[in-house]
Symmetry: C2
Subunit: 435 residues, 2 copies
């Protein structure tokens, strides 16, 4: 059950510290193993990819079978209900509409005579999405990653997912197809990351790798950062609910449990000034949990990282929430918009009693790839800007350069880069060659 914490009695709780450390695992063995795999792929390409796929996934790949065939993707549509296909398409449309608003335009400015400056925004050319196998294999995540890249204008989107003897999950294939993924490869783990980052005969190198993965995948992503770009590291999922006495304990109980069903490492936290709300929420959990399939996971998760924190008032609740910087924050309070400006750190913010977290996971159109483990202090939900790059543009006329030449030259020489200064000065030396 949830850990009950009374903030008036404890100044800095062990619980908050425990939470902070949750995602900071570094295992030397894993690092070394992943390095061997990546080095091997860098040197030996496809052969190394095939070797590790056989070793870890027990599947023999060839240049012919590494990529899933278009007809197999189309066949996947027959394996899932029409309603599921319709919902995937609706979700895709909503994601598309929301992310369209994130597009940044190129711009130029001519503030002074003869001086043109600007910023050109262009999509990345090739993006690779990692989609894990097993229970963490979510069609919704495929949509979130692929549609966002598509909106940005990425030309080629490829996806990697672990091979399975029974074939890849049909819903994953359909989601990828609906989202506009161009090619799907059945390779998983660190070997998938290596193939995307370095390129092989069968796989063209990508500019960026996105998507969640296990510790091997995350370690590999960290190591290839710089060869290509990567997204943030997705840790265990989290919810923090700030509630006043107007909230409904039934909904709070349900939302806390929804988060906890993900994983025994998930964290579900209620912060409220109302002791009554805590009591009723606990009572509700006891009622609702009975018939849940994932009861054991929920209970374990609550024990590990679940909490009900009783505070003086809503402002103190928000202060603690800003320290935790949760992935998902629900404001189940009377006037949530009144407090919007006080929320400094949160990945996604759910306002009021009828905006439960699963609405954002599946349907509203906002991205569900959101920073975890306190990284919402500096990371953002996945967005269109993650799939573009910018180029600065500088154009001065001769007259405009003439006005600033001596300042540039002086500054450069002060920094000991005399030739930088000379490169400006030489353009104004008396000389027949000047044009």
């Amino acid at each position: 059950m949830l850990n009950i914490i009374d903030k008036s009695k404890i100044s800095e709780t062990d619980f908050l510290n425990k939470l902070k450390e949750r995602n900071q695992v570094e295992l030397d063995d894993i690092t070394n193993n992943v390095k061997v795999i990546l080095d091997d792929i860098k040197s030996n390409g496809d052969n190394a990819v095939f070797k590790y796929t056989e070793k870890f996934d027990n599947v023999k790949l060839t240049k012919n079978s590494i990529k899933i065939k278009k007809e197999d993707i189309l066949k996947a549509y027959d394996n899932i209900e029409d309603r599921y296909i319709e919902i995937l398409k609706k979700a895709k449309d909503n994601i598309y509409k929301f992310h369209k608003r994130q597009i940044t335009n190129s711009w130029i400015t001519n503030e002074n005579e003869g001086e043109t400056l600007g910023q050109i925004v262009r999509p990345l050319e090739r993006v690779g999405i990692y989609s894990p196998g097993g229970t963490a294999s979510y069609p919704s995540s495929v949509l979130m990653n692929a549609v966002t890249a598509k909106v940005a204008g990425v030309q080629k989107i490829i996806m990697f997912t672990p091979p399975k003897n029974e074939g890849v999950n049909s819903a994953i294939l359909v989601a990828a197809d609906i989202a506009g993924v161009d090619e799907i490869y059945c390779v998983g783990g660190a070997q998938a990351i290596g193939a995307m980052a370095f390129g092989t005969d069968s796989v063209e190198k990508v500019d960026k790798i996105v998507g969640p993965g296990n510790i091997y995948v995350n370690t590999a992503k960290r190591m290839v950062f710089g060869y290509c770009d990567i997204d943030m590291f997705a840790g265990p999922s989290e919810i923090l609910i700030i509630a006043d006495e107007t909230a409904n304990p039934k909904y709070i109980a349900a939302d806390l449990m929804a988060q906890a069903e993900h994983d025994v490492l998930s964290s579900s936290i209620l912060i409220t000034p109302s002791e009554k709300m805590v009591k009723e929420t606990l009572k509700e959990i006891k009622v609702q949990i009975k018939d849940k399939k994932r009861k054991d996971i929920i209970e374990k998760s609550f024990e590990n990282y679940g909490a009900a924190i009783i505070v003086k008032d809503i402002n103190e609740a928000i202060r603690i929430s800003n320290v935790i910087a949760p992935e998902h924050l629900e404001l189940c309070i009377e006037n949530p918009f009144e407090k919007l400006n006080s929320i400094k750190n949160a990945g996604a913010l759910f306002m009021g009693n009828y905006s439960p977290e699963p609405l954002g996971d599946y349907f509203a159109g906002t991205n569900h790839v959101i920073p975890t483990s306190g990284t919402a202090k500096f990371f953002s939900p996945l967005n269109v800007d993650d799939f573009v790059k910018k180029t600065s543009l500088i154009y001065y006329t001769k007259e405009a350069l003439n006005k600033v030449k001596s300042d540039i030259s002086y500054f450069a020489k002060k920094e000991g880069l005399d030739v930088h200064g000379d490169a400006v000065d030489i353009r104004f030396e008396e000389n027949k060659k000047n044009i």
Copy 2:
């Protein structure tokens, strides 16, 4: 001297491969040493920071001397010329004006009745800038990093720079002060990165670390990524000049040499369809190089990574440039804006004969922290977006949620997350408690 490469005679040149590998150094020894330092700082805070500063920089620090005093910063103004101070201020103003245009506003949208979605943009709270010592200590870089963070609205900007017995370079202190840096600490190397990423008694943990550094600093930054955010890894500097017969070989020679004076690892490349332009540029280099202080570095750099590539036409030049994805690209051609749309990968783009690269380094207002070593394919010049984080906002009314509840519930259950579906459904069960 520059390597001359005739593209019509060589299909894939060794030179381009050599260039690609330039920045991909990974040294296990350094990684291990840096890991020891970071682990020590994580466990022992200030004491570890003081220990490594004494070991590597031969300076004994205390809690009292680790931070440079305000009066010492003010005194630094007396040590540099008034003109220098004026130029630093003008450069700061230009950087400020350009970067102001990069600010992204928060937005909300109400496309459908009862559905409010949005994106809230907020500055990072604390940012740390690393400013290297020695010859790589540039006041202009301090401006570029600090002013950009300031424009984003960062509340607290701190700077770390290696200690020196004779005191830190006055121009660095003045530039930091002009740019709005709040605190300056005299600690360098991996220990500076550790102190900023983990926090110690003397140093409050930052949300992001930016600024160039040597291999120890870069390795440490890679390792702390996730504890805080980091900027990209700055490699050796590069210029690529695309020239047609209207260009001036005198200017090209000067611009290539300016890049080469940075470092023997710098790369200066001319690509042109005009053999005459190559000949005249080489002749010009021979004339101009004679009286340069850094002649030896320039020559060595040209030998290592300098090239004049002769191509069929300007379009082929641009194609090669897009593969190289240079940090700085000069288009010294008759109508540079005609080709703007073909330039896919470049950090900063200098148009025409009077926009030399040092204009961007020092004065135009664009950022000179620009992706190197081909990473302009996926990274951008440092910009205001690097110092903000975003929060998604979701607010549905009961009626709006009611319309989509069964789709969400269906989707969640298909992914095996039944309780996610229950959390939506429970809000519409017949019940006196519903509000």
